[in-house]
């Protein structure tokens, strides 16, 4: 059943109750609801076309106490953040008046992200690429192999802690 809803963010807020902070990123999705949202977007809102899946690595940050002058009320402490990845997706409704819709989730290092291969076939290689380059493990992907680097490549090159001049063996 196709719903021709002009504002996807409003539709998502209505349906799932997630608010959109940054229109470029879209709503933040809990990991267990990701497949449900994706299926709903594909089947009900006609988002049949995969644009991308991008993982962005953020290294761990310590707790930060912002500076303040003596005698002032100390501003709230910015809490420490673990080593994590932002996984953002974007899908597109094709045809005249095309729109895209993005959504994202945060995946702490060590946890897995649900795979969307069963929803959009094009997520297959996108997720493989993000696994290869950023190191996000997609749970449920049938073929999570490296795609850009060789199979025995150490590390994931697009992580922030991977120095650009890392020495490596010449590729076979």
């Amino acid at each position: 059943m196709i719903v021709d809803h002009p504002d996807t963010a409003a539709w998502v807020a209505e349906r799932f109750g997630w608010q959109t902070a940054d229109p470029e990123l879209g709503p933040q999705v809990p990991a267990d609801q990701l497949v449900a949202l994706a299926t709903a977007l594909r089947d009900e809102l006609d988002f049949a076309y995969v644009v991308y899946c991008v993982a962005v690595h953020y290294p761990a940050e310590d707790e930060i106490q912002p500076k303040f002058k003596e005698g002032e009320e100390p501003p709230p402490v910015i809490p420490a953040k673990p080593d994590r990845c932002l996984v953002t997706y974007r899908v597109r409704r094709l045809g005249p008046g095309t729109t895209t819709f993005g959504f994202h989730l945060w995946v702490p290092t060590g946890e897995t992200c649900p795979s969307l291969v069963d929803v959009w076939a094009g997520m297959d290689w996108q997720e493989r690429e993000q696994y290869d380059l950023v190191g996000v493990v997609f749970d449920g992907h049938p073929d999570l192999r490296r795609i850009m680097m060789s199979e025995d490549w150490p590390g994931h090159p697009l992580r922030r802690d991977y120095a650009i001049d890392t020495r490596h063996h010449p590729w076979r």
Partner: protein, 420 residues
């Protein structure tokens, strides 16, 4: 608007890209594409054939592991990465202004498109709008580049089906002869024939020289005349038709799910073109007549690309006569690596490259003192060729080896942008 989610979606038809299409299983017909040769019965007559990375017609360094039953493919597993140059990592280390000449090398058949795509994203992050003159010049060079790219495709595709020693080579040389004229135009405009570094954040780096529009018009007239020669040589040629009609049919539903756009999608019936549907640059000034065919085979892709070539010529002719006066860049010329510092944020823009949706997703990271950093935090280039190649495991099984080469050629993958 209240929406009642249907518990069981009806698997009859689905409206995708303005089409009513039957929902079908998006799995390859020959089983799971991820199996390796070890999973095959040793008694069976399946032969593993390594197509590439060194092979005359894999368009660079694509490697496809084909499992063949005689000459018929039963499974195709593409392996990428032989041209991986770490462009995205490099973009994280370079300043915004320096990224442009680097991404030029991604899609080395249409470098203008790469520059345009990434600079549009930077402009969105910066919140600046290029002046109208720059917008029109951008559109003109993009369309000229599309002409050049499609010309090159016609030539290389003929090489794929016609052989390097034979009629294919003749068609190849003829299209290169015409493409050369476009490169001359770019040489006149930017000083380079291939990797131009013509776009910059906020506009263009080179204004059009005197007499350039006359040169463009003359060249386009010439190319349009010559395209009729390709029609004579290819379109009605029975050998060409025998090799292309009905071969490599791509289902539009599958194409969309795989993220395939551009000529491959439009030849399959998907009515989608970013130039018309989400106009960028100066495409809102012209009516883009989107070519759509429904056959979905190689011949349809060929005809569609020829039609698009003519359409691009028409768009350039519409724009070339009234280029608005004014500056060509909204920002001051780059004098320092850190001249461009957008605020932290996320941006995605997409353009219609000759191969489909070429998008760039950029995360602008924080810099010192709450301002933006001088280089992108993460830069993701979304290349159309990458998605087009992911079609291969689905459409290659059941085809002859010769047809697989023809299909691969017709998909027009550029390994430079697929591997990045």
């Amino acid at each position: 608007m209240a929406v009642t989610p249907s518990p069981t979606p009806e698997p009859a038809t689905q409206r995708v890209g303005g089409l009513e299409l039957p929902v079908e299983l998006l799995r390859p017909a020959w089983g799971d594409p991820y199996l390796d040769l070890d999973d095959y019965d040793a008694e069976s007559d399946v032969m593993a054939l390594n197509l590439g990375p060194q092979h005359p017609s894999t368009h660079g360094v694509l490697r496809v592991k084909l499992f063949m039953d005689g000459e018929v493919c039963v499974r195709a597993v593409p392996y990428l990465g032989y041209l991986h140059r770490g462009v995205e990592k490099l973009c994280e280390k370079l300043s915004y202004a320096n990224v442009t000449p680097i991404v030029d090398k991604n899609d080395y058949v249409s470098p203008m498109m790469n520059e345009l795509a990434i600079n549009m994203t930077f402009e969105k992050l910066m919140g600046c709008e290029p002046p109208p003159r720059a917008q029109v010049i951008r559109t003109i060079v993009a369309e000229l580049q599309r002409v050049a790219s499609h010309l090159l495709w016609v030539g290389t595709f003929c090489l794929d089906i016609g052989g390097a020693i034979g009629g294919g080579a003749s068609a190849f040389m003829h299209t290169f002869r015409e493409r050369e004229l476009i490169l001359e135009i770019f040489e006149e405009l930017t000083g380079c024939r291939f990797h131009y570094n013509h776009h910059t954040v906020g506009g263009q780096r080179h204004d059009i020289p005197a007499g350039w529009d006359t040169l463009v018009k003359q060249t386009l007239d010439h190319i349009e005349r010559r395209t009729f020669e390709y029609e004579d040589m290819l379109t009605e040629n029975p050998v060409f038709k025998a090799r292309t009609i009905g071969v490599g049919v791509v289902d539009p539903k599958l194409a969309m799910a795989c993220g395939v756009s551009g000529p491959v999608l439009r030849a399959s019936g998907g009515d989608h073109d970013l130039r018309r549907d989400a106009p960028y640059a100066a495409y809102d000034r012209v009516d883009v007549d989107v070519q759509v065919r429904t056959e979905g085979d190689i011949y349809a892709r060929y005809l569609l690309r020829l039609a698009e070539l003519r359409e691009s010529i028409r768009i350039v002719r519409c724009l070339i006569d009234d280029i608005p006066e004014g500056p060509i860049c909204a920002l001051k010329a780059v004098k320092l690596p850190g001249a461009v510092k957008p605020k932290p944020g996320f941006a995605y823009t997409a353009i219609e490259s000759p191969r489909g949706e070429l998008g760039t997703f950029v995360v602008a990271g924080p810099g010192k003192r709450g301002k933006g950093g001088p280089n992108p935090y993460r830069c993701k280039i979304r290349p159309p060729s990458y998605h087009v190649l992911s079609l291969l495991p689905y459409i290659a099984p059941g085809e002859n080896l010769s047809d697989i080469i023809a299909i691969l050629g017709s998909l027009d993958p550029i390994m430079g942008e697929a591997d990045r």
